[in-house]
Amino acid sequence: CGGGSGGGMASCRRLSGAGLREVLGPAQGLLFDCDGVLWAGERAVPGAPELLERLRRSGKAALFVSNNSRRSVAELERRFSRLGFRGVRAEHVFSSALCSALFLRQRLLGGGGNGSGAGRVFVLGGEGLRGEVRDAGLRLAGEGEPASGEPVRAVLVGYDDQFTFAKLAQACGYLRDPQCLLVATDPDPWHPLSDGQRTPGTGSLTAAVETASGRKALVVGKPNTYMFDCIVERFGVDPSRTLMVGDRLETDILFGKNCGLATILTLTGVSRLEEAQAYMASDSAAAKDLVPNYYVDSIADLIPGLDE
């Protein structure tokens, strides 16, 4: 056994001891989800900063792929630093906010050029997401604006804790034009808060917009593979030598499977081991794709697999 996922069903084996070295040895790099893997709220997972440091010293790449559309990659770079992770730069971080902006730039601007004539984007989301869209060279439609001026060519639904019925209605107005794209940053139905509570995710807001408009959103984030395309374009990653590490079976692990990566589930976040085992026992083919190749209690458990 080694890097690539190959064919056949994953078997959710605990990674430890010799198995750890066999899996990590050949790997050129690891893709990490962030929330629930590297940190929980404002606390780094114990040992996580040391793991990244050891990866660097072993010459293995560490890249980050997050469905969280709240923050710009610049904010995420500062967050890494503040939580004790050294050497992580914005260019290593692929958030759904960034990738949604890149996706819209490709579709509306053809990947280059300036913004004029491309149309505007109506964003349901916070300042982090709006900033990424602007940085991609696109112009935003304002809230409550009359439907005049440059046409709105895309509605982008992200995590929006200021979501209102009025914004939903405004989005639907734009989506009456079949040329107007409907894009969502990620499908997550909810996100955990530090005390075990949950906050509604982009997926719930997207469901409202889809229902009102009768349209299906193009979802940029995991488990869809667009964010991996962005990573490959920037860093030329070889999937057969890359491991995906995440805490959410329905997004991270399925993403790994969809991109041809071997997957490691870490238990410091959303999904429980019992859920992975239930998917493994299921008869459904779709359920099998949610089973990780390996699991660890925490990513700190990966440290002994690396050279001293």
Partner: protein
């Protein structure tokens, strides 16, 4: 109640009403993320002991000129998605409302006509309750849509086909006495 702070992390600290045992989603032009958050909290706290009920699933409320505003169905879907559970929908096509009518009034389905403009709510409920169903074309449905369902092999679509149609309910005047 006023929100205790600007962000969801603050809102989830506000105390929950211990007496709440159901979340009811209806048409709410003041729907917002904070309310969605609160609904999710009650549903998580109560689990199966907290009901999730929606008044109806209409996607859109049509306005004049072809415009429309989002319907209650959108808000129900948002709550269902966040809570990962399905709401009990009281409105048509669920037969609950017909049962309410039938229990208050002496209604014989065999001698009752359901008149409506929407196939997937009005006509479906009427058919499921064994009423005679009459579609009026002054609303959202076109005859082409009906024919599409009629020609389909899918039994679920066939159940959307009315027994009769009129261009407008005014056409019924012709057959009623003075």
């Amino acid at each position: 109640a006023a929100l205790p702070g600007p962000a969801p992390a603050d809102w989830v600290q506000a105390p929950l009403d211990p007496a709440v045992r159901a979340v009811l989603v209806g048409f709410d032009e003041h729907f917002n993320y904070a309310k969605l958050c609160q609904a999710l909290r009650y549903l998580l706290r109560g689990g199966p002991d907290c009901l999730l009920v929606g008044t109806n699933r209409d996607h859109r409320l049509p306005l004049e000129g072809g415009a429309a505003i989002p319907g209650t169905g959108c808000l129900v879907k948002a709550v269902e998605t966040a809570a990962q559970r399905e709401a009990f929908i009281v409105g048509k096509p669920n037969r609950f409302m017909f049962d309410c009518v039938a229990s208050e009034f002496d209604v014989d389905p065999a001698r009752t006509i359901m008149v409506g403009d929407r196939l997937d709510t009005d006509i479906l409920m009427g058919n499921d309750c064994h009423l005679t169903t009459l579609l009026t074309l002054t609303g959202v449905t076109t005859l082409d849509e009906v024919r599409g369902h009629q020609d389909s092999d899918c039994p679920a679509r066939n159940r959307l086909v009315p027994d009769y149609y009129v261009d407008s309910i005014a056409d019924l005047l012709q057959v009623l006495g003075e």
